[in-house]
């Protein structure tokens, strides 16, 4: 009879296998998007060559060109006291292009459906693994690096799936990133971080372990999505500026994705949720530190990096509200922000000396 923890590990491996299938399906979908974009462009060229533009095609030209000018429009807007109002007005105009503000309409390919279904299945296995680990340990399953990674990746997938359900925009295209990231992190965790179930050291025996660490991990889930959206935003805005300057543009999957302004708004909304959770993490951590170490703030290495992450994202929020910083620059800050999050989780946990020596390694 295998122990609960052994079943948990088995379940993790199964989840990883299914994540891998999901990842492949999502990648195929991205490739198909590229093909769809190329096809749309070819049709367009044909129509041009024939010099006779059916009404539908004419509209598509308009849409394409409109997408091209999105950026210019974005920078022109914001004049007068109505910047944000115009922003949403603009968004609604694009939404009339396709539901998502994309310049090429693209439904849901079978690959995409498979990807989502496999992600849900992997998530179930992953959840099982995490719960079993918790039962095996008789406590919350987030008390060492292996468990942080196990729960953290579960939450990344959970946040992704929840966002798929609640968001007005179809964000399934982020599946490649999410499943890829989760797969890599789980792989590293099972190979390098695995430790068998051990009891909690006294410093971790606290209700704050449940709250502080859980909220921190959830926050990371949101930051991961914000990172992905910001990366796509940067790629999209580069493509838009190429289209605007009428340069030849490689027909990529980007044409089927929302325009950069929509992506930016989405990224912002995801980030502020992450930011609030992180603010709470920082405060809950301070309260816990006061009880465990006798001071609420002592610039311990982990505290320093929690602070750095917080400040970087505060910078991001300001950048979003600052003329000349909105758009790509703020996207870079979101990317830097997530890099500091990953750095904090890996390098700081493993190599920096400090009171937070809970990697279990």
């Amino acid at each position: 009879m295998p122990s609960l923890d052994e079943i948990s590990v088995l379940s993790v491996y199964s989840a990883m296998a299914v994540y891998a299938i999901a990842f492949i399906a999502f990648s195929i979908d991205l490739a198909k998007r590229g093909a769809a974009a190329a096809k749309a462009a070819d049709e367009l060229r044909l129509a041009h060559d024939g010099d006779e533009l059916p009404a539908a095609e004419r509209e598509r030209v308009g849409v394409l060109q409109a997408a091209a000018t999105a950026k210019t429009a974005a920078s022109a807007a914001g004049t007068g006291g109505t910047g944000a109002g115009e922003a949403s007005g603009r968004a609604s105009r694009w939404r009339s292009a396709t539901a998502d503000g994309a310049s090429v309409a693209y439904g849901r390919s079978p690959a995409l459906r498979v990807g989502v279904a496999m992600t849900v299945l992997a998530w179930l296995l992953h959840l099982t693994a995490t719960l079993l680990r918790g039962f095996a340990a008789g406590r919350v399953p987030w008390a060492n690096m292996y468990e942080f990674a196990l729960t953290g990746t579960l939450i990344i997938t959970t946040v992704f799936l929840v966002v798929l359900v609640v968001a007005k925009h179809d964000l399934r295209f982020l599946g490649t990133f999410v499943t890829g990231l989760v797969l890599v992190l789980l792989g590293v965790a099972t190979v390098n971080f695995y430790v068998s179930v051990v009891p909690l050291p006294p410093a971790l025996q606290s209700a704050w372990l449940v709250i502080h660490v859980f909220v921190a991990t959830t926050s990371v889930g949101f930051f991961a999505l914000s990172f992905a959206l910001s990366v796509v935003q940067l790629m999209q805005s580069r493509r838009e500026s190429l289209v605007a300057s009428a340069k030849a543009v490689k027909k990529s999957f980007l044409a089927t994705l929302p325009d950069s302004t929509t992506l930016e708004n989405l990224a912002y909304r995801v980030t502020i949720v992450g930011f609030i959770l992180w603010t709470f993490t920082l405060m809950a951590g301070s309260i816990w530190a006061e009880a465990a170490w006798g001071r609420y703030w002592g610039w311990d290495t982990k505290e320093v990096w929690t602070f750095i992450i917080w400040v970087v994202y505060a910078g991001y929020i300001h950048a979003r509200a600052t003329r000349g910083w909105r758009g790509s620059r703020s996207a870079w800050l979101a990317i830097i922000g997530f890099s500091t999050v990953l750095f904090n989780f890996t390098v700081v946990n493993l190599f920096f000396k400090g009171l937070h020596a809970y990697s279990g390694l």
């Binding site: 807007a77 914001g78 004049t79 007068g80 006291g81 910047g83 944000a84 109002g85 115009e86 922003a87 949403s88 007005g89 609604s92 105009r93 939404r95 009339s96 068998s196 051990v198 009891p199 050291p201 006294p202 410093a203 025996q205 606290s206 708004n265 912002y268 502020i272 930011f275 609030i276 603010t279 405060m283 309260i287 006061e290 009880a291 465990a292 170490w293 006798g294 001071r295 609420y296 703030w297 002592g298 610039w299 320093v304 602070f307 750095i308 400040v311 970087v312 505060a314 910078g315 300001h318 950048a319 509200a321 600052t322 003329r323 910083w325 909105r326 800050l333 700081v348 000396k353 400090g354």
Partner: protein, 583 residues
């Protein structure tokens, strides 16, 4: 200082924002002391500098600078959190350490440059929030803005036919009621015979933002004041001993600049017992600590003794101080006698743990009573084992097979010269080593309840067995193995703190969170409902909104209001005017 939005003249007032905020009007080209400007006087330059400092751009740059400035403190040990690490760093890197030190790299968070960054940030913050707060107070009293002449270009614009039998006045009154229920501030307007209601809500967004930023200032001040008036002290107490909360009784004491030592409440804290529980079942974690509990008694002049306990994560809060259990270890009870058998040293000496299995190091200093001063450096192994190399190690943190080894030194202890020396270290320079090392004499090795001769007839040393029913001491090597669980006393190292503003930091932290939530999630929006007359004389209800800041739900809110007031839009009615003129 910052130009206000154009909508002011219509009554509605936007939140005041720095000039380079995306919602602020674009400045005319050549703003600032550029070429096109007439010469700026001193005051002009000051104003220009102040405007730069309080701009959004500066806030971003200072925030990023703060993040970068915080990094070195995590790479290099800090005096505040890891003083031993700093000492070690100086030993390991004798060349670079002084250079780093000259840049205050070991005191990053109190350094001039780190302070400069955050102080500038906070000056910028003050410069930002004061005018905004003033402005916000006025805005909260201002009327919602005049209804725009054409609503068609605004967000979520939608129309509904005026329901049969409802006149314009009733419709507007009904809309006003609905908006009020939705916590809008409302104002009736009438332009060219078209009655309308203008509404605004979400002032809490700006309030939250101001509360958030102000509370951050609050934290900074509270932390500063707390540091000035509080103190932090450390004290090691062995089981059965006690400590009185007075300045002299602390092993180390760090008062704030304004701390008044006479404000210490002189209560007595006795350590009755320190319970340590270690894992015994889980083979993967044998010996891992499960629980430490210090059972203490608190006594003061006024009342009866009170029992309490201190655990990791559960400090004892008493007499305005917080008592934390930050460490523990063993305190072997050692007695030294002179050749005549007179006791010259008798104490439980706290040994500092060196590893997870509590191999511990301690120092015994016998300054008086013998011909020459005597020092001993000891190793204590709670559960002794012999490694392949012949060296000793502890294999379990509890007392299964406790062994104490001592290396004896004779000579000047260096404690009479007046320079303070640590009780945990012995400087053997200027002393002769008598046992261990290269002396050719074996180190002294004792189990609890054993005693042995010091070399050269200098007297005896005994490792006292503190078990309640311990037999009399026997010569080294002759004690029979028995249950040693209570043979050696433990010590607890307590941190005792007083921070008068800690509670304020918490209050401000809660305000920060509340302010943040409302400023990020409360939408500030305007909404208009107008009874418009079409060219053909028919009358329709027009609805539109305007977001002030991030507001993804605006369009939905407009159509929800329209639906509620006049029923859902007819199928043919376009809710989104795709042919809206571009701005």
């Amino acid at each position: 200082m910052v130009s206000t939005s154009s909508s002011d003249r219509d009554g509605g007032v936007d939140p005041l924002r720095p000039a380079d905020h995306v919602d602020s009007p674009e400045p005319p080209p050549g703003d600032g002391p550029g070429v096109a400007q007439p010469k700026l006087g001193f005051a002009g330059w000051l104003r220009f500098g102040w405007r730069q400092l309080t701009s959004m751009r500066t806030a971003i740059l200072l925030l990023l600078l703060l993040a970068i400035a915080a990094v070195p403190g995590s790479l290099v040990p800090q005096r505040s959190s890891d003083p031993n690490g700093v000492t070690q760093y100086f030993t390991d890197h004798p060349d670079t350490a002084p250079v780093l030190d000259s840049f205050q790299m070991f005191d990053v968070y109190t350094s001039a440059w780190f302070s400069a960054v955050y102080l500038l940030l906070f000056v910028s913050l003050i410069g930002c929030i004061i005018p905004r707060t003033k402005h916000h107070f006025e805005a909260m009293r201002a009327r919602p803005p005049r209804t725009p002449v054409r609503l068609g270009r605004l967000a979520g614009y939608t129309t509904r036919p005026l329901p049969d039998g409802v006149d314009a006045e009733t419709a507007v009154a009904e809309a006003t009621k609905l908006l009020k229920q939705g916590r809008y501030r409302v104002e009736r307007y009438e332009l060219r015979g078209e009655p309308s209601v203008s509404a605004e809500r979400g002032y809490l967004r700006e309030t939250g933002n101001l509360v958030f930023h102000t509370a951050m200032l609050g934290i900074l001040v509270a932390v500063g004041v707390g540091g000035g008036f509080g103190f932090a002290g450390q004290r090691v107490i062995v089981e059965g001993q006690s400590f009185v909360n007075t300045l002299a009784a602390f092993d180390s004491f760090n008062p704030g600049r304004f701390f008044d030592p006479s404000s210490l409440a002189p209560y007595k804290l006795s350590l009755r017992e320190l319970d340590a529980v270690y894992e015994t079942q889980n083979q993967d974690a044998l010996g891992q600590p499960i629980d430490f509990t210090a059972h203490v008694t608190i006594t003061d002049q006024s009342g009866p003794a009170e029992d309490g306990q201190v655990k990791v994560n559960e400090p004892l809060r008493t007499h305005g101080t917080d008592v934390f259990l930050l460490g523990n270890g063993y305190a072997p009870h050692i007695v030294v006698r002179d050749p005549e058998g007179e006791i010259v040293f008798d104490d439980a000496v706290p040994f500092l743990p060196q590893d997870a299995n509590l191999t511990s190091i301690g120092v015994v200093k016998v300054p008086d009573g013998l011909d020459e001063q005597l020092g001993m450096v000891g190793f204590f192994y709670p559960t002794q084992d012999v490694l392949g190399s012949g060296a000793y190690a502890s294999t379990y943190p509890d007392l299964v097979l406790p062994v104490l080894t001592l290396n004896v030194y004779e000579g000047d202890l260096g404690i009479d010269s007046g320079t303070p020396t640590s009780v945990y270290t012995l400087d053997p320079s200027g002393m002769d080593q008598l046992t261990g090392g290269e002396t050719g004499v074996d180190s002294i090795e004792l189990k609890p309840g054993e005693l042995t001769e010091l070399p050269g007839g200098r007297g005896t040393v005994e490792f006292v067995d503190d078990s309640p029913d311990a037999p009399a001491a026997v010569p080294a090597g002759s004690a029979a193995d028995r249950d040693y669980a209570q043979s050696v006393k433990r010590f607890a190292s307590f941190d005792i703190h007083h921070d008068p503003t800690q509670i304020w930091v918490l209050v401000f932290a809660i305000l920060i969170l509340a302010g943040l939530l409302s400023s990020l999630f409360v939408p500030r929006r305007r909404m208009w409902v107008k009874v418009a007359t079409r060219r053909d004389g028919s009358r329709v209800l027009e609805f539109a909104g305007l977001a002030r800041g991030e507001d993804p739900g605006l369009e939905q809110a407009v159509s929800a209001l329209a639906d509620k007031l006049a029923g859902p839009a007819a199928e043919s009615e376009p809710t989104h005017d795709t042919a809206k003129p571009t701005t």
